[in-house]
């Protein structure tokens, strides 16, 4: 091999330097796609075998998941990162301490079709700091809290409405009244609708916290 062969040919155009576009593409031998038998079965987007005539997509539903996690820094970031990364639809997420200082409890409300809910539970359980995960029964006790700051022009009426919703006035000044409402998501939605007439200045809401009813365990250290 001479050195001349090794010198980059800077004058060459890419077309010169390469085989023409008409170079043979031999490929492989065998029956072409249309000459092969093809089955008629189909799966849907979730990978479930379906009757192509019907082809129903699963319905989205709301599920409350409770996860017992080890109480250490960064757990919340791992959980929230997981849900955004895997594109699970999440309605709310709360985290707080439990009776055992080693564990915290995360409550998640997700909206997914059935396979998505199952997958969310499995992905959650797979995180190393997650001790156990359960989907709560339909009748589980779910509560959230809202603080609503309302214009102070009609304090008596605000107090009356607050009473209707078992809400508490937690702060009052000449200009504003702040009430605390605790209840289900819909109770709080209704309370906000009702307070709207007095002029709402600011709202902050927590997500849902939830426990199973009666002696049923929500998500215990060994209930996986």
């Amino acid at each position: 091999m001479s050195d001349a062969d090794r010198t980059p040919d800077t004058d060459a155009t890419p077309e010169d330097a390469h085989v023409s576009e008409d170079a043979p593409d031999h490929g492989l031998k065998g029956p072409a796609p249309e000459e092969r038998p093809h089955p008629e079965g189909r799966r849907n987007a979730q990978g479930i075998r379906i009757d192509p005539e019907v082809e129903a997509e699963p319905e989205v539903r709301e599920a409350v998941l409770s996860a017992l996690v080890t109480h250490e820094p960064g757990v919340l970031a791992r959980v929230s990162g997981l849900f955004s990364r895997r594109q699970f639809n999440i309605e709310s997420l709360t985290v707080g301490a439990t009776q055992n200082e080693d564990f915290a409890r995360i409550t998640l409300v997700v909206e997914e079709p059935e396979p998505g809910i199952e997958q969310a539970k499995k992905q959650l359980a797979k995180l190393i700091p997650v001790v156990s995960v359960r989907e709560l029964d339909q009748d589980a006790v779910c509560r959230e809290l809202a603080l609503i700051k309302i214009d102070g022009e009609h304090p008596d009426q605000v107090a009356a409405v607050a009473e209707m919703y078992d809400a508490t006035v937690v702060d009052a000044s000449a200009e504003s009244v702040t009430v605390e409402v605790t209840g289900t998501e819909s109770t709080i939605d209704n309370a906000i609708d009702t307070f709207e007439r007095f002029g709402i200045r600011e709202i902050t809401r927590t997500g849902s916290a939830a426990l199973e009813r009666g002696p049923r365990e929500t998500a215990a250290p060994h209930s996986q």
Binding site: G27, P31, P33, G47, G81
Partner: protein, 606 residues
């Protein structure tokens, strides 16, 4: 650690006599499982090394730097761990990954904070996608500077959380060794994967009187090893009555060291086998029952079988889209038995009618013990053999055309033993290597599957070579098939191969293209070859020689065999730059999202 304290009091003495320190460290590492406070004062960094030694790590790959220096200083005292100084942290991560694949135990990668850690990221993500056991140890700025945007500070935990099985921020010299031991153990337990421990400099420099305990996975981690007996029974009945059963062996079969069990199962019950790409080597490809691997560039017969099976028994696979093509048309007639140690993989992409969570080998044993009669699959086996004849992996090699890359792969295969380790970069060359090499042993195929990392080939060959050498298998050949573009991404690691005199042979299938991109441009972008071709390419044989390796350039068919022989005979790193036909394409091909059964055999079928 009084000896060290004495030694460092007298720097000259420390330099002159490092030997006693070796012994002291080795003794300490030998006290297996004794978790006691000693009256010896050591550092966090020494605990890190002790933990690695207790975990029986024998090699580490890394690059020095400010924040990791205390750990390296402690590594100076270890006679057990062979450290390989890499040229770039990405190379360290791939080498550690490949070491883990070949050795069957986690590889270790070391890097400093900031750019060191971020350079590891590609390799960690690669290991994560392929479930490869690996431990990354990264330096970090001192704890009190974390969050201040200090020099070479990166939120390594934040960056690596989505791409690790789990990661740890070490906060205390007393417990840093335990964290490292736990991370090592976790990486190799259950479904393997990469773990990382971030090591702030004050933690590794800080003193401790405590030795780390025996490495063990976290208490909350208890992977299920055996499937539910009732579920096994139901699945066994499905196998007995199947008319077209098909086994799909994924990378999990290799990782669980279940290849032998899986082979016996397939042969005993007469069930044809396809593998995934990571599953290559789990079943001998020259066996009558083997249809090689399925998916985008899998064999026609594997894709025909997966399209027409009525019962797919999938083991240790995550149904990647490169395997399934469009999910709508994937194995559309089949019920699926899915065996996997990770429940989150079952019914994630493709619904499984039969879910068997557990270790691949153990669940296959359970199934084998439960099946009362093998399925009557004679006609199906004949059908599979007929497909093998209908869709042969024969390539055209006319005399008047340039050297075919497939010919080069076959020449290496013919010249080497079955235990040869093949590593690759990513692209056309990777596909040809996997299609035209006949694999027969697990842990001989080392490639980047899920992440598709160009540049994986050379550093992984280094990791594979070290793993083989550490196991006393110096006679095994390590061949890296690389593309010209893939090689360009990490070729600086040749310096490492030369420095360590590693016996590896790099075969560049050089078509002077980003070949796979060029193939897609020709098929799907009207031949508009944007950023896929260049009008000249470096001379890789000369580059190799400049690094101190041997180098050859090959253009002709009759040069192939003698050059391969010469390179294999050379006891050190060598590079052969094969100038292959730039027009050659990879077939069969299932276009993205297409039906496996409609694989194209030529471009006009796409």
């Amino acid at each position: 650690m009084s000896e060290r304290a004495t030694a460092t009091d007298d720097p000259e003495d420390a330099e002159a006599t490092p030997e006693p320190e070796h012994e002291a460290t080795a003794d300490r590492g030998g006290e297996d499982g004794v978790d006691e406070a000693t009256d010896q004062v050591t550092t966090g960094a020494e605990s890190v090394i002790t933990a690695l030694e207790k975990a029986e790590a024998t090699a580490a790959f890394g690059v020095q730097g400010g924040a990791i220096m205390p750990v390296y200083d402690a590594l100076y005292d270890s006679s057990q761990i062979r450290h390989v100084m890499m040229a770039h942290e990405q190379g360290a991560a791939h080498a550690a990954d490949a070491y883990g694949v070949v050795a069957g135990e986690p590889g270790v990668a070391l890097a400093t904070s900031g750019p060191g850690a971020t350079n590891l990221v590609t390799g960690i993500a690669d290991a994560n996608m392929d479930s490869d056991a690996m431990l990354a140890l990264t330096g970090q700025v001192p704890s009190d500077m974390v969050g201040s945007d200090a020099f070479q500070e990166t939120d390594t935990i934040g960056v690596t959380t989505p791409i690790t099985k789990h990661n740890y921020f070490a906060s205390d010299p007393d417990t840093v060794g335990d964290a490292v031991g736990e991370a090592f153990s976790l990486a190799g337990t259950g479904r393997p994967g990469p773990t990382l421990v971030d090591l702030p400099k004050d933690v590794t420099q800080g003193e401790t009187g405590r030795d780390p305990g025996s490495p063990r996975p976290p208490e909350t981690y208890n992977p299920q090893m055996e499937a539910d007996e009732q579920d096994v029974k139901v699945a066994a009945r499905a196998i007995e009555r199947a008319e077209k059963p098909l086994l799909l062996f994924g990378g999990g079969v290799v990782k669980a060291d279940a290849a032998e069990t899986a082979r016996a199962f397939a042969i005993e019950h007469g069930i044809p086998v396809v593998t995934t790409m990571p599953g290559i080597g789990s079943f001998p490809e020259d066996h009558d029952l083997c249809l090689s691997w399925a998916g985008m560039h899998g064999t026609g017969y594997a894709n025909m079988a997966i399209t027409h099976t009525d019962l797919l028994i999938a083991i240790g696979t995550r149904f990647d889209d490169r395997l399934t093509g469009g999910v709508e048309t994937f194995a559309p007639e089949a019920e699926i038995i899915h065996i996997d140690i990770d429940p989150a993989e079952i019914s994630k992409n493709v619904n499984a009618e039969y879910e068997l969570v557990g270790d691949a080998g153990r669940v296959l044993d359970q199934l084998d013990g439960t099946i009362e009669r093998s399925p009557d699959a004679r006609e199906w086996r004949e059908q599979c053999l007929q497909w093998k004849e209908e869709y042969p992996m024969d390539y055209a090699a006319p005399e008047d055309e340039p050297l075919k890359p497939q010919f080069v792969v076959e020449a290496f295969d013919a010249a080497t033993d079955d235990d040869t380790i093949v590593t690759t970069g990513v692209g056309q060359h990777q596909m040809w290597a996997s299609q035209y090499w006949t694999f027969s042993e697990p842990r001989t195929w080392v490639s980047s599957h899920g992440l598709g990392t160009m540049g994986y080939g050379l550093p992984s060959a280094i990791g594979a070579r070290i793993a083989a050498d550490q196991q006393g298998q110096e006679d095994r050949d390590v061949i890296c098939f690389d593309g010209d573009a893939s090689f360009l991404m990490t070729m600086q690691e040749i310096a490492v191969a030369v420095r360590e005199n590693l016996d590896i042979t790099v075969a560049i299938l050089n078509n002077e293209y980003i070949g796979m991109v060029r193939q897609w441009q020709d098929a799907f972008y009207e031949r508009r070859r944007m950023a896929a071709q260049y009008n000249w390419c470096p001379e890789f044989d000369r580059i190799a020689e400049a690094f101190g390796a041997r180098g050859w350039r090959v253009d002709e068919y009759d040069e192939v065999a003698p050059t391969v022989e010469e390179a294999l005979d050379y006891d050190g790193p060598s590079v052969i730059d094969f100038h292959v036909d730039p027009a050659e394409n990879v077939y069969p091909m299932v276009p993205s999202g297409g039906a496996n059964g409609k694989f194209a055999l030529t471009e006009d079928q796409l």
